[in-house]
Amino acid sequence: MSIVETKDLTKKYGKITAVDGLNLRIEEGDIFGFLGPNGAGKTTTILMLLGLTEPTSGIALVAGYNTTREPLKVKRITGYVPENVGFYEDLTAAQNLIYTGRLNGLSDRLADKRALEALEIVGLPRAAERNVSEFSRGMKQRLAIADILVKQPKIAIMDEPTSGIDPEGIVQVLDLIARIAKETRMTIVMSSHQLYQVQRICNRVGILMEGHLVAEGLLEELSREAMGGIQFRIEVKLTEVTQTIVEAIKQIKGVLGVEPLAGGLIINCSEDLRPQIAKKIVDTGGLMVEMKIQSYALEDIYLKYFREG
């Protein structure tokens, strides 16, 4: 059973449709990257998954619970890091976490224990007794992750967890999320409009454009699908381009096309065929000067959808 499932999930604000007939499935243990430009409906979808706003039509199920009808059951097993997460500034980091623990029905002792453990995991053990008002943006983001750890949910939903922090902080937060996912086997749904971040830690991706899910799947699948199977582009420079060489290369399994280039060739292929190509060139008597490989990043895929959407 999928841990998150939506069926024709739709949300309208007046005449504007923020989310339009979304059908989404997220499996247990996934690190799911929810990708899309600003205003694509990512946050609205997340709010509906948490029962923080009601869908206009359609349903959202989290672990089999309908988020509109049984929001409490959903919230018991879901951790949420909102965009621009806030804490009680006049309380210390530990107090904030203990409060979350108590709201989840933990005893004072257990809440206390989990709060300190969580701060340890996110690397803020020494900030436990400091007021949150002294925290930097990056520290708050890590505190928000600690907040989820106190709750120990089955699934964590993070809305733009890296927005507004510096590059080093982003790497720290992303690695932290990846580590937690690995250690606790928690399902993670993370929204972002920054591609490389999603690429760094997510195994599955959904691309949302203007309320529609335009693509969804494993990263490799997605790139194959989007670029018509072309994943790599190999540039070869030769002393002399002959028809024999071109024909020979075309014979290699996995080569999708060969185009001439000034003093060389461009070879599109579905996998990394550099050794095979080099061998063929040598076998047919060609002399290779240079060979470069370029893999299509998710960026190209994303931009392709972006233009089409």
């Binding site: 706003t53 949420y80 621009n84 806030g86 804490f87 009680y88 409060y99 709201l103």
Partner: protein, 325 residues
Amino acid sequence: MRGLVAIFDKELADYLISWRGIILFAVALLVTVVAIYGPAGALVNIREQLGEPTQFGQTQFVFLTLFTTSGAGSYAFLFFITMFIVPIVGIVLGFDAINREKNSGTLSRLLSQPIYRDTVFNAKFLAGTVTMAIMLTSVVLLVSGLGMRAIGVPPSSEEALRLFLFLVLTTLYGSFWLGLSMLFSVFFERVATSAMASIAIWIFFLLYTLTGFIPTAVANMRVPLSDTSTTQEVIRYYSIQVAAERVSPIYLFQEAMYVLLSPGTRTATEYLQIYASGAEWQPGSLPLSQTMITIWPHLVTFVAIAAVFFGVSYYKFTREEIRST
């Protein structure tokens, strides 16, 4: 239930330990003590009153006069409490209850925990009410303690009971203002707006009650009095005026508490007392049960209005989309 307790604990601590709570308490205490014991306070008048018999023969309730007697150029404790202290405390405790959490981004986090939304509202309301109960009780106890030294008379058991009821009902009155300001904190996004809205309503009713222009104008319009007016007309005039006065929650509550704290008062309706000030009424005072019957309609009105505030706040708050922006 656990969620309610957790939020209640946190909010109560916030109210009591914060500067906001300390300042409110200090102001309440200072104003009331000065009103009674200050240089122009009520104490002088109380001493005078004790010497002379009054129209309804109130002598057996000496201690309560401490709370209902006004000083030279200042209001009685009762009026300070009902007009200023309690509304201000109620408003200050509630005006940012919901929207501050919304603005600081803590509300999304709070509502993603396994608690119902109305639990958040209820717990905050309850914490505010308990804060007010603690504040009012300590103020009344301190004033009473000073009073015992000053006039040398301890309260009788009935007086103590009436004071206790006064505390309970004043807390209820405070929660009426708290409910109002929390209602605005649900409706307005900005903290300043909700504060201004609550304060505007309070000042409107305060002036309405203090000046009495509008009730008098209404009565004059409906029943223009002249030298030749009959007794019926005069009574109608006053009943219209009082009805108009009672539109103000401040007046309504004041009236009820005056009846409670001065047992010599036989009816909540002032114009009847004016008429009875002749020889028709025997001196004496009402037993507590009769006092309660007299002010029952007032109390029911308050509970009803508070219920409406709650209903509207619930309706808005539980349906709202919580976005952290």
